[in-house]
């Protein structure tokens, strides 16, 4: 029942997004604008500050992710559908997992556009070590989304949710962004530092395990008013 409910919630979010394209379009537009602004500011005569591309990629992921989190849960607030989801006869953590998978998928789509764009504008060979790079993106995205989904769900009934989400989210996800940036920078060095990248991936994977477990454990009491 747990898996079934989580997948149903994911499928429902995808179906709504396919119809409205609301979150995908705003997230992508914001992410691309963010990268373009940094490219105009930091690229001079074809040369760029060392490690800038890594930082810009992760900043764009974090900012557009925050936007996507807010919009996705706004949908559940509009007609109080979150209450109807919480009435499903399954562990309420299944709702969390379904929403988390939706956010990860959405950020994955954003990254599909962001990575080639940053690579092009900053002349950065992200895929010199493709497996390690994908590992960094995946673990970093899951970590950011795990914390973000929990906070966005908690704040769905709060009037100050738009202000509170970044205030709560960024301090806790700073390790994810730092690990993502350092791991990506290690892969982009003249001689790619694979052990360093692996270390950052392991750190991100640990963060994911800790925060997904914590969210699964706390979601039900936090969502019961």
């Amino acid at each position: 029942m747990f898996r079934r409910v989580a997948l149903l919630v994911l499928r429902k979010d995808v179906a709504i997004e396919v119809k409205s394209l609301e979150v995908v379009s705003t997230t992508l537009f914001f992410a691309v604008s963010c990268v373009l602004v940094f490219a105009f500011a930091l690229v001079r005569d074809g040369s760029v500050v060392v490690d800038a591309a890594a930082g810009i990629l992760w900043i764009a992921i974090a900012f557009s992710g925050t936007l996507a989190l807010g919009r996705t849960f706004e949908r559940e607030r509009y007609a109080e559908t979150l209450r109807a989801l919480l009435l499903a006869p399954a562990p309420r953590a299944a709702i969390y997992v379904g929403k988390l998978l939706g956010i990860v998928l959405l950020l994955g789509v954003a990254e599909l556009m962001l990575v080639p764009l940053v690579s092009l504008l900053f002349s950065t060979p992200f895929f010199a070590r493709p497996l390690l790079f994908v590992g960094l993106l995946l673990t970093g995205t899951v970590g950011f989304a795990a914390v973000g989904t929990l906070f966005a769900a908690m704040l769905v009934r709060s009037r100050t949710r738009d202000i509170m989400l970044p205030i709560l989210l960024y301090p806790i996800t700073v390790p994810v962004i730092i690990a993502g940036v350092r791991g990506t920078a290690a892969l982009l060095a003249e001689t790619p530092d694979e052990p360093a990248a692996l270390m950052w991936i392991a750190l991100l994977a640990s963060f994911d395990v800790v925060f997904v477990t914590l969210a699964l454990w706390t979601f039900e009491p936090l969502m019961t008013e």
Binding site: A15, R75, Y78, A84, L86, L87, T224
Partner: protein, 234 residues
């Protein structure tokens, strides 16, 4: 299905939100076949009590017993037997009526398409089943919401201001459905502050005021006079 019950007992339930006391040691029992009208002015605590019965709001003290078992013993399975219709429709406006009902049926493990088809028929929107819900009138959306709440044939049916924004015909349909549910053995709670609609429909009246249960008695012939008298006394 396991976990079914034929009575609901609210035992000394209180609920505080910070320093505000929304419910204060409320106790009442409802049995199969009853339509209990939770009456009271705005802010009396009716919606909080509906939330507690739906397991969406945890009591600060006291408990609700479904049959003879508390929530913690029954687990998520209990929610198979609870249906909630509120003023907010709990439906996705971007999706069609069919998609909404199919999704919610899936949440309850009901995969058969005929369940959704029957619900669409009962809602009277078969010809518009694939239109986005956002194109529907308030009354049509409410009919879909009613079917959504009852898809899984719940034992405990909770209605929180179900008639808001409905025209007379839609009100009549919802009221008829309530009577059928009670006749089928459901336990129905209906929170409302509209005495005209409650009159002749509810079989018992629980008057809530400032979070306290002021009265719990069989529905009187002249509900409005009794209500005025109770509110004055409180």
């Amino acid at each position: 299905m396991s976990g079914d019950f034929d009575s609901v007992r609210v035992v000394g339930v209180s609920r505080h939100f910070g320093r505000r006391r929304a419910l204060s040691t409320i106790s009442l029992t409802a049995r199969s076949g009853e339509i209990v009208g939770l009456l009271g002015p705005n802010g009396a605590g009716k919606s909080t009590l509906i939330g507690v019965l739906a397991t969406l709001v945890a009591p600060s003290s006291g408990e609700v017993r479904y049959g003879d078992r508390p929530v913690r013993e029954l687990g998520p399975e209990l929610r198979h037997h609870i249906g909630l219709l509120a003023h907010e429709l709990h439906l996705y406006p971007e999706l069609s009526a069919r998609q909404n009902l199919t999704f919610f049926a899936g949440l309850y493990g009901l995969d058969r398409q005929e369940i959704v088809d029957r619900a669409l028929e009962r809602a009277g929107i078969v010809d518009r089943a694939d239109d986005p819900l956002s194109n529907f009138s308030r009354g049509m959306r409410q009919r879909v919401a009613l079917e959504r709440a009852l898809l899984h044939r719940p034992r405990l049916v909770l209605f929180d201001e179900p008639f808001t924004g409905l025209d007379d015909q839609a009100v009549g349909l919802v009221a008829d459905r309530l009577r059928v549910l009670a006749a089928d053995g459901c336990i129905v709670f209906m929170a409302t502050h509209d005495l005209d609609l409650a009159d002749g429909l509810v079989t018992r009246v629980a008057l809530v005021r400032s979070g306290k249960l002021v009265s719990d008695e069989p529905a009187d012939a002249d509900l409005r006079a009794r209500y005025r008298e109770l509110v004055r006394q409180a």
